[in-house]
Symmetry: C2
Subunit: 434 residues, 2 copies
């Protein structure tokens, strides 16, 4: 048996960051950028107005008030996306719409509110200038309501560095730089195969001793949740022939994940196929659940240098999920180039007795963690048999009881690995739905 840490280190040593690809911008959300994105022009490109109103020479408005307005001659208008051809000379103004470049000669924008132009002066949508003069009701300050060219981004500036995980705001910024596609590290395709003569596909007719396969769906869902693309390969029988055929179908994927067939039983052929068709690395880890775990690589023929890592999860539904969380998820994160795939861990007060006697394995018991008065509490979510998937459904965390601890008494502090925790459950909230 090897430790969890050692098993993970070995798995990661065989897993590579996927080669980057050019992707349409919207498909890059959540992925890791594989290039430095720099600006080739200023944003905004030109000085422009932050308000609808009139572009004026501030000096022309000196002394203007509501009681004694100053009248300017309106010589034209300009909207966003266009440039005013002429110049604002003394005593004149150009009607201007938000975002439009500041006309030559003007140094200030007087918003409609500070003129005699009523709110709904022009029928909107016409864009036709109807006023020939405008009364300014307040002195304009030079530079007022002007957004300066390059106030956000300067040409040449590096804006989004390589290695950034792209969120909506980065995607927006990259779009504003004119890029329709970016180089990112793609999502891994994860082939998922269940094995076992006893398994039925959900939807099939059930018979006596046979059970429906849960693992393909639970593991496939975890793949999706962590940003990969699950490719379900179905169920393989416990024969070398069927398993070999189905495993070959997974060689097109970036990683293959199987469940069951990794114990020492006669029918546990996964490790044998892995050994004959590829290379096995190890197959037991000092953890509970999840001890039997096969790991190895296939080297598809005719595909020089290509390596398909294979994680052989245990067959019990809880064990396969827990082992995927501990080993499959980090492998996916590494493939996606994500550097920070830490799993949050807290110290929590045990609310139940947790026994781990006579078992030299780390005990990852399913538990539910709550926070009360700044302290975390962990209660077990029922029977810890590795077939009891409902206790996984009720859990949001796993305990981390060291192998050498026989028993944890209620009230003792333990380490807990968080699985599903939405920060904010213990905070206030804004605009609730209730």
């Amino acid at each position: 048996m090897i430790s969890i840490e050692e098993a993970l280190a070995r798995i990661l040593s065989y897993v590579d960051v996927l080669p980057a690809e050019e992707k349409p911008l919207l498909e890059a959300l959540g992925q890791v950028l594989d290039e430095d994105i720099s600006a080739t022009f200023d944003i905004p490109p030109l000085d422009n107005t932050a308000m609808d109103g009139y572009a004026v020479r501030a000096a022309d408005t000196t002394g203007a008030t509501g009681a004694s307005p100053i009248t300017l001659r309106v010589i034209g208008e300009v909207a966003a996306g266009y440039e005013y051809e002429g110049e604002v000379e003394r005593g004149t103004a150009v009607r201007i719409m938000t975002g439009a470049p500041i006309p030559a000669g003007a140094d200030s924008i007087v918003p409609f509110e500070e003129t005699d132009e009523p709110f709904d002066h022009a029928p909107s949508g016409t864009g036709r200038l109807t006023a020939t003069a405008v009364k300014v009701l307040k002195e304009a300050r030079p530079g007022a309501n002007i957004r300066r060219a390059a106030e956000d981004i300067t040409a040449g500036q590096m804006v989004v560095p390589k290695g950034t995980v792209l969120r909506a705001s980065e995607i927006g910024v990259i779009a504003s730089l004119g890029r329709a596609a970016v180089r990112v590290i793609p999502r891994p395709v994860v082939a998922v195969l269940s094995t076992g003569d006893e398994l039925l596909e959900p939807g099939q007719e059930r018979s006596g001793a046979r059970i429906f396969d849960a693992n393909a769906h639970s593991v496939g869902s975890l793949v999706e949740r962590y940003g990969g693309m699950p490719r379900l390969l179905g169920i393989a029988k416990d024969t070398v022939a069927d398993l070999t055929a189905k495993i070959h179908k997974g060689w097109g994927a970036d990683i293959l994940v199987t469940s069951a067939g990794v114990s020492r039983g006669d029918y546990d052929v996964v490790k044998d196929v892995l050994a004959s068709e590829g290379q096995v690395d190890f197959w037991t880890v000092a953890m509970k659940p999840g001890k039997p775990l096969a790991f190895g690589c296939f080297y598809p023929e005719g595909d020089e240098g290509r390596r398909v890592p294979h994680i052989g999860l245990p067959g019990n539904p809880v064990s396969s999920m827990v082992a995927f969380e501990l080993f499959g998820r980090p492998a996916m994160m590494k493939m996606m180039g994500k550097r920070d795939w830490r799993r949050p861990m807290v110290r929590a007060i045990a609310e139940d007795e947790i026994t781990n006697r006579d078992d030299p394995r780390v005990f990852l018991a399913r538990c539910f963690v709550t926070e009360r008065d700044g302290k975390f509490y962990a209660s077990l979510t029922g029977s810890q048999g590795s077939g009891i998937l409902t206790s996984m459904m009720r859990a949001n965390a796993l305990t981390l009881i060291p192998a050498e601890v026989d028993v944890v008494e209620p009230g003792e502090e333990i380490d807990v690995i968080m699985l599903d925790w939405t920060r904010g459950e213990e905070w206030g909230s804004y605009l609730t739905s209730d």
Copy 2:
């Protein structure tokens, strides 16, 4: 101007939960279940073994030790998915593989480790019984290593209730109940349209006063992040004709989101098209950024009773993102049947002066929140101009400065709405990548 709370209440009053659909199980991840899922059979269906070993009568092993083992005659074997036809009679044993049903007569499982069968006794994969007798090295306890029928789920039990947001473990449990598809509330299709003569699509050639459209991509990314399906409709010119044509394309979606064209400028035709083709509800909200906001509904002809809500976001890139976070996200959550779409909010200590003078609007300044020694601190992420999208990129939260507060001094406590916060940044972590 109306308040944020009122604007949201009005929007939600026009938004309906989408009609539920039958979806393949894996596509239901993250969605809200719209039926009660009950079990039609026990899980596990039969008593079965938790270990590879021998099914025995415990009484037959009384007194067995390594020094004086008890020999049993091996009468057959059984693997998971099969049932042993005969009966374990006195002095006999059936070789049994994990998951296989307990043969009649047997009341205990002796694992291989407690027999003389070596680890790699049979060539695995053959499934052929080679031993005719087995030595038991330790007394078997009645019931040992037996998983009882129905120990996880009992026939008739309600397992996953309507309204549950389906995670990987629920998907696994539902698969184990034999269901290949479930009724869930689907993801909304969100049509996203940018408007403005000044806009270019990313990838187009740039000219003087024109700018690349950021909003379709940033808002489209938020749609995706919150579980919807963005359908980008491109850019509409600021004319009633072009805008009307493009808006019609959005009527097939569950909700239409446009950006820009909602101020009072001459070219702000979105609100006019909404007024003539549908019904406008309101168009200014007491918030900064994001004051001009149009909301209304279209009632497509020939589609009795169908209503397409339309959120007209402001055009500035920060304003459109902030307004989508505050109004678009809750609308999506309601459509998806998610009852808890709270946004976490904390009290944080301001690290900068924040001024909100002469503006009767709530100030949602972009800030970055950190936690140190159990306290939260918020620092502004630079210029708060609503065109400065890079300051959104650096932010993980928005301040919530009430309209009546003119200035917040450094050190004062403020409310902060969290946008991107991964709980655990301030915790310990398990198995880091470093």
